[in-house]
Symmetry: C2
Subunit: 345 residues, 2 copies
DNA sequence: TTGTTACTTGTAAGCGCTTACATCGCGTCA
DNA sequence: TGACGCGATGTAAGCGCTTACAAGTAACAA
């Protein structure tokens, strides 16, 4: 008969109805077998599941989401996948989600607020049940978009109680100030700041502010701080470092906005025949794998990536389940000593 | 009736119908404004678009996919996001897709064929118009799944004309043999192979085979090759290196399955007080950023990541547009000399 | 026997969109 | 003037699923 033919037809993607027909039950029963197996007799269930397997049936996600009004999918928008800055945190986030049967959709914004907004909109359109965001800085519109659609979100990588958003992260300014305290203690008075691009990036901004504030508190002239902004890439870090080394008097330490920049600085230092930390000290931020394997090892700020990722997942699930409000969570960042920071020459 | 009330209800996500009502047109017209603006008069279009903005309307992706039977979304399943091995290629893939108005969904399989299959199924259920896969090795089922649902796919990172799948990549065995030729030329006769896990990973397998075959061709006893398998992580690389250094006679070179392992090896060598390449040479594979910034710089196999990513996107779009068959594309990998490979001591 | 309960299964109404087809005006041309 | 074509818009039929509700059945107590 033609029904069978239809089912077999190459190129035809089997639907619930195909399965129902072949198993001689209604589509509702098939749906139940898939979603609430206990509500179906074993006999029926087994027959249905066999057909499901034979036909290679997989539910159409869009249709399911449309009918059920939930997707069991969360989204994350991270600034970049190009380096490992967010990898560990995201991995932990993903693992925690997986444990709860939730799928993760990852999008990257290339550190571009406009693009990020588009990605958020995209995730919302895909019906995600929640979104993880990096940092607080973004157009108010982006937040409104989510609120209006009733999509819960959590901000990570940054702790700022003045912001009205659910969040989990650490105080970037404070962390940088803790590092600077050590830098200053070691006698450095001329510092080069190799910052990430601050526009639309509160982490970069707060870290930079932390440097300036520490110097001010220590009574060091603002003049003694030279700042260069660079994209977060090794090459840009190298170029930025070279630029800082032009400055006279030459900085005795280059404080970097993150480890990727620091790795670039280190490379450039080597290329220029500068000894680190003998001639110039270099510090990083984030403590990604990179920080450990470069030579000399980077003294950096250790960020609790995994804890942050896991925590973000938990918050998001609470939010989805209606718990509201969830207070901001502050995590501690600590200084990790390796070899790249030494006494001022 | 309740419709008007419904529209006002706070928390209500606006639909096409809401927009249509507010703009006093039919839902078909709104749909046209969004998808084929030229088919609507400017006047109507502007009125509609204003309402769209006011209501913050965003189309429901699932519903659209359901009705239109296409998603303008492609998927990629990569083994890991934890390190940068696939980052550059994926970035290029993404960029090319973006140029064509296509969204990319990225999933990671943790180098687990079972998980990969699940991710493929997931992407298929989400209605992606095509999938990028890494390497050839996977259960036949995974391929069947895609074929049965008519989802085009392209295999990357590997070139193997004997495989019946559309692909773009390089010959991992040949590339490794080219590197080994140099290793042997430099007098190395005792080699340690720090391989990635070969099960379900043809790249790792073929690279390892390349090492063995090169030695055989050079008339070096198979005994002189010691192989250790490790997960692709820095720590595992370090541990594997330590293990290889136990072997007597000690290998004069450690050939690594990729740069991440090599970075781990380098770290361990330093920890053991071994000079590279003075006491022992180390080689990498892939030429990711890491390879350049470690000390000494890694001599490695340069892989045309970006070219591969872009090419994969092009192939996938051809496939989607019905062009079939698309012959496998072979890219060239070349040796990139830095400092970590030297003459045998 | 009959009513009640507990389960299993089926029926059918949407979910929010796209699109084939119908309709409506209006300018054009013989 | 009327037939015609054409562009703009509306109508309505699904796309593949979930789920409230109805219907059917078997077990059991009264």
């Amino acid at each position: 008969m033609t029904m069978a033919d239809d089912t077999q037809r190459s190129g035809h993607v089997p639907t619930l109805a195909d399965v129902a027909r072949a198993a001689r039950v209604s589509s509702a029963t098939v749906s139940r077998c898939l979603n609430e197996p206990h509500r179906v007799t074993r006999q029926t269930r087994e027959r249905v599941m066999r057909v499901v397997r034979e036909l290679g049936y997989a539910p159409n996600f869009g249709a399911r989401a449309l009918a059920a009004r939930r997707t069991d999918t969360f989204g994350a928008v991270i600034p970049t996948m190009d380096n490992a800055i967010f990898a560990r945190g995201l991995q932990a986030f993903q693992e925690e989600m997986g444990r709860h049967g939730i799928t993760l959709l990852v999008a990257s914004s290339s550190y571009d607020p406009g693009l990020e907004q588009e990605q958020i909109r995209n995730l919302a359109a895909r019906g995600v049940d929640g979104v993880m965001l990096i940092g607080h800085d973004r157009p108010e519109d982006s937040y409104r978009l989510l609120q209006r659609r009733g999509v819960p979100y959590v901000v990570t990588w940054s702790h700022d109680p003045s912001q009205p958003h659910p969040s989990i992260g650490f105080d970037n300014r404070k962390a940088m100030m803790a590092l600077m305290e050590q830098v200053i203690r070691l006698g450095h008075r001329h510092v080069g700041l190799l910052s990430g691009v601050r526009y639309g990036n509160d982490r970069a901004r707060l870290r930079a502010e932390g440097v300036a504030e520490s110097m001010q508190r220590a009574g060091i002239a603002a003049d003694n701080l030279t700042t260069v902004e660079a994209r977060y890439s090794i090459d840009a870090g190298a170029a930025g470092f070279a630029q800082l080394m032009q400055r006279r008097p030459r900085p005795t330490v280059v404080v970097c906005g993150n480890d990727v920049l620091a790795a670039g600085a280190l490379r450039q230092a080597r290329a220029m025949g500068l000894n680190v930390p003998g001639d110039v000290s270099i510090t990083g931020f984030d403590d990604i794998d990179l920080a450990e394997i470069v030579t000399p090892g980077l003294t950096t700020v250790h960020v609790p990536h995994r804890q942050m990722g896991r925590g973000a997942a938990e918050i998001l699930m609470k939010l989805r389940d209606g718990q509201d409000p969830v207070p901001p969570v502050e995590l501690k960042a600590s200084i990790l000593w390796r070899e790249s920071l030494g006494a001022a020459p």
